[in-house]
């Protein structure tokens, strides 16, 4: 029952439940995979099973009702420690001070709020300004805590969320804890950036790779959990790249506006009017937020994908931008032989350029010219000249 709170991830669930059922829980698990696919959610659910007073199904399912389950879910269980990146306080002494000692009251309140939000929704990304590192003092606290008798009897669990945020010093300090596991203590590390982890840490954990969520899993979850309508849910699931939290984030943004912006940009590009194109690019790139720009380009690629799908299958079933079906059809009638695959590649190149800090209006101008070139099969530059 309770495992349903973790979306998809059938393979990972099977592995974890097998370990719980056989009583052969490793001393340390490392959950890897992109952000927002449920690594923390899985870790919290696993902790619930271990803290549950009366777990069901051979000790592999948390009852969800007892003190152990409810306090673990709320991240307030005495035996469950949730470690995450924190900001550094003013003139903080990384050795002497406890991790939250030197933070301001406002920061403490914010941190407590974020923990509460994480507890309410394990897919929530904890975001605290200036918190870019898991502090060595947090790791020291873990070490100290493990040295003590457990507060409550039974399992003791440490979840290190986004463990790659440990600096070298903190990671090395953590090694000792990983090396000398205490009985009935489970360390769970999660990371979306496996490459940034020390090899010495990787080699001391049992790694479980998490899979990207399927579009259907994300759509269903959005409908069930966020009360989203099926059409927009389906659309964002395609854009979310397998990540539930990204889907939620996309939903909260002005996705529809963006989708029409993209079509309008494309249309202007094909109008062969440098003046209009310049004005359009100025309008679109007024926001300097690169994530926003990137998302816009991804939407363009998705629109072009719809064109390709429509051209190849002739059916409307697999079209994402359902409400723009007329535009898609008319594009396909008018430009029946354009190499859409190469156009998509051009958009992807533009995304790369944005990521590598290229000047955004320039990226858009080049992209517009290339798209135009593909559609009319004439070099755009020659015409401008």
């Amino acid at each position: 029952m309770s495992w349903d709170s973790v979306l998809g991830q059938r393979r990972a669930k099977r592995l974890i439940r097998a370990a719980l059922g056989s009583g052969r829980v490793p001393h340390a698990w490392l959950f890897t995979g992109p952000e927002g696919i449920g690594k923390d959610a899985m870790a919290i659910e696993t902790a619930k099973v271990l803290r549950c007073v009366a777990p069901l199904e051979n000790g592999t399912v948390a009852c969800g009702l007892c003190h152990g389950c409810t306090t673990t879910a709320a991240l307030q269980n005495a035996n469950v420690r949730f470690v995450f990146a924190l900001p550094s306080g003013k003139s903080e002494d990384s050795r002497g001070d406890s991790p939250m000692m030197k933070l301001s009251d406002a920061e403490i309140t914010l941190i407590q709020e974020q923990v509460a939000m994480k507890a309410a929704d394990p897919y929530h990304n904890i975001s605290i300004p200036r918190a870019n590192q898991i502090k060595i003092s947090s790791i020291r606290e873990v070490k100290r805590d493990i040295g003590f008798v457990a507060t409550e009897s039974g399992w003791r669990i440490v979840i290190v969320s986004e463990a790659h945020q440990m600096g070298d010093e903190a990671a090395n300090a953590f090694l000792k804890t990983l090396e000398e596991p205490s009985p009935r203590t489970l360390l769970m590390l999660t990371t979306s950036n496996r490459e940034r982890m020390l090899p010495t840490i990787l080699s001391r954990c049992q790694e479980i790779r998490f899979d990207l969520l399927t579009d259907d899993e994300i759509t269903d979850a959005l409908v069930a959990r966020q009360g989203t309508e099926r059409t927009p849910a389906g659309l964002v699931s395609k854009l979310a790249e397998g990540s539930f939290s990204r889907a939620v984030e996309l939903l909260s943004g002005d996705l529809n506006g963006l989708r029409f912006d993209v079509v309008s940009f494309f249309r202007t590009a094909l109008r062969r009017s440098p003046v209009a194109l310049h004005a359009e690019i100025e309008r679109l790139t007024a926001s300097v937020d690169r994530v926003h720009i990137e998302r816009m380009l991804t939407l363009l690629a998705l629109w072009l994908r719809d064109v390709l799908v429509h051209r190849l299958t002739g059916s409307e079933a697999m079209i994402v931008n359902h409400d723009q079906i007329k535009d898609i059809q008319s594009f396909n009638t008018r430009f029946a032989h354009t190499p859409v695959d190469r156009m998509i590649a051009a958009v992807e190149q533009a995304v790369q350029a944005v990521r590598s800090n290229a000047q955004i209006p320039l990226v858009f101008t080049v992209l517009a010219m290339r798209l135009e070139e593909f559609c009319y099969q004439t070099p755009g530059l020659a015409r401008v000249a």
């Binding site: 003190h67 306090t71 991240l75 307030q76 005495a78 949730f82 406890s98 939250m100 000692m101 933070l103 403490i108 941190i111 407590q112 923990v115 509460a116 020291r140 070490k143 100290r144 493990i146 040295g147 003590f148 008798v149 457990a150 507060t151 409550e152 300090a173 000792k176 205490s182």
Partner: protein, 372 residues
């Protein structure tokens, strides 16, 4: 759940438990005090998950029940109130709390008591009564020598060994070691119990009590100190303590006896001229007296003093961290102390000389290697 109480007594009771409340914790619930009213007895509990402090106070109560009250706000309010009577009313449905004083009222919101962490079940294996003063001196003599290194958790606490005819307390950080044996505080029940108590709990225990005698109870997981009103329960450090006995030298044959106060003051003065990193002082011991010397190459400062002492062996030159010498001498209460040396690179022992006051104190100091 309502009660009336004198502001002064309420403030005192809150003061007894306030130090257990963590100020900055990701677990918000810990920033609350658990109040439980049973008839005319109000019990107050605070915890940081390592230590639980509970105290009792007599009130004029009506309606039993429990509620969590924000610790800082309540304590700040009660401390600031004019003396007089305070009436506390809590609606356990809405968790609204109102404090009435003669001149006004204060409203705050509490939390449901079930959110408070479960407190440890405690079953004593060893139990004894001990005079607070003696216990406090045992703590004072050991806690300072604990290690601050989390990577050797055992040494961050004080080892208590309960034996049929004595109690031992041991602390070490690898550079010095203290062993205090008390023969008068023999325990009952726990013949061979060894526990490692975190220093924070000990510091709290040496300050929180006002009675002359306290009880100490312990088992493998927890230790509890109580004086009838206030109870401190702490979780123990669950590690193996190093075999400290093997470190204590048995054959240090060069004994120096010296006036404690005089040596302490000398070391204080001379060490002002020692290197601020090493704090090294050099001691040259001969039958005509002890010469304490320090120099700091960086600033060019140097100092020495001659102190008379009682010494009948070969001349010896040995280096120490002056802070460690001061820490040790500060915690011995006899007029004379004895130093037992063997060679300049082996541990030396400092013990009280003369009247022992019921406690066997032994301090071990590792020397610093001298360069010439």
């Amino acid at each position: 759940m309502n009660f009336s109480v004198a502001v002064k007594e309420f403030a005192l009771a809150l003061g007894r438990i306030s130090s257990a409340t963590p100020q900055r914790s990701p677990m918000q619930v810990l920033e609350n005090i658990l109040m439980h009213l049973d008839g005319s007895v109000l019990s107050l509990t605070a915890t940081d998950m390592d230590i639980v402090v509970t105290t009792r106070i007599d009130v004029r109560g009506e309606g039993n029940g429990s509620i969590l009250v924000p610790a800082k706000r309540l304590i700040d309010t009660v401390r600031a109130l004019e003396l007089g009577d305070l009436r506390f009313e809590a609606d356990l449905g809405t968790m609204r709390i109102t404090l009435y004083t003669g001149s006004g009222q204060y409203k705050l919101t509490g939390l449901n008591a079930v959110e408070f962490p479960q407190l440890p079940q405690f079953e004593a294996k060893a139990s004894l009564k001990l005079p607070l003063a003696k216990f406090a001196s045992m703590i004072d003599r050991t806690v300072f020598a604990c290690s601050g290194d989390e990577f050797r958790p055992a040494m961050t606490g004080v080892l208590f060994q309960f034996r049929p005819d004595e109690i031992r307390a041991i602390a070490t950080d690898g550079f010095r070691l203290v062993r205090v044996i008390d023969h008068d505080m023999a325990g009952t029940g726990g013949d061979q119990l060894d526990i490692i108590v975190p220093p924070k709990a000990l510091n709290l225990a040496s300050k929180a009590f006002s009675a002359d005698e306290i009880t100490l109870e312990a088992n493998q997981t927890h230790v509890r100190f109580a004086d009838g009103v206030t109870t401190i329960t702490a979780r123990l450090i669950d590690e193996n303590y190093p075999n400290y006995e093997s470190v204590i030298p048995q054959a240090n044959d060069k004994r120096m006896v010296i006036r404690r106060e005089e040596l302490l003051n000398t070391v204080k003065r001379v060490s002002l001229y020692s290197n601020s990193q090493t704090r090294q002082v050099r001691m040259r011991i001969a039958s005509e007296g002890l010469r304490v010397q320090a120099e700091d190459m960086d600033t060019g400062g140097e100092a020495y003093e001659q102190v008379p002492c009682d010494y009948n062996s070969d001349e010896l030159e040995i280096g120490f961290n002056s802070q460690y010498v001061r820490d040790a001498l500060d915690r011995i209460d006899t007029a004379d102390v004895a130093f037992d040396f063997s060679t300049p690179l082996r541990p030396s022992l400092i013990t009280p000389h003369g009247d022992k006051n019921g406690q066997d104190v032994l301090m071990l100091l590792m020397p610093i290697r001298l360069n010439n």
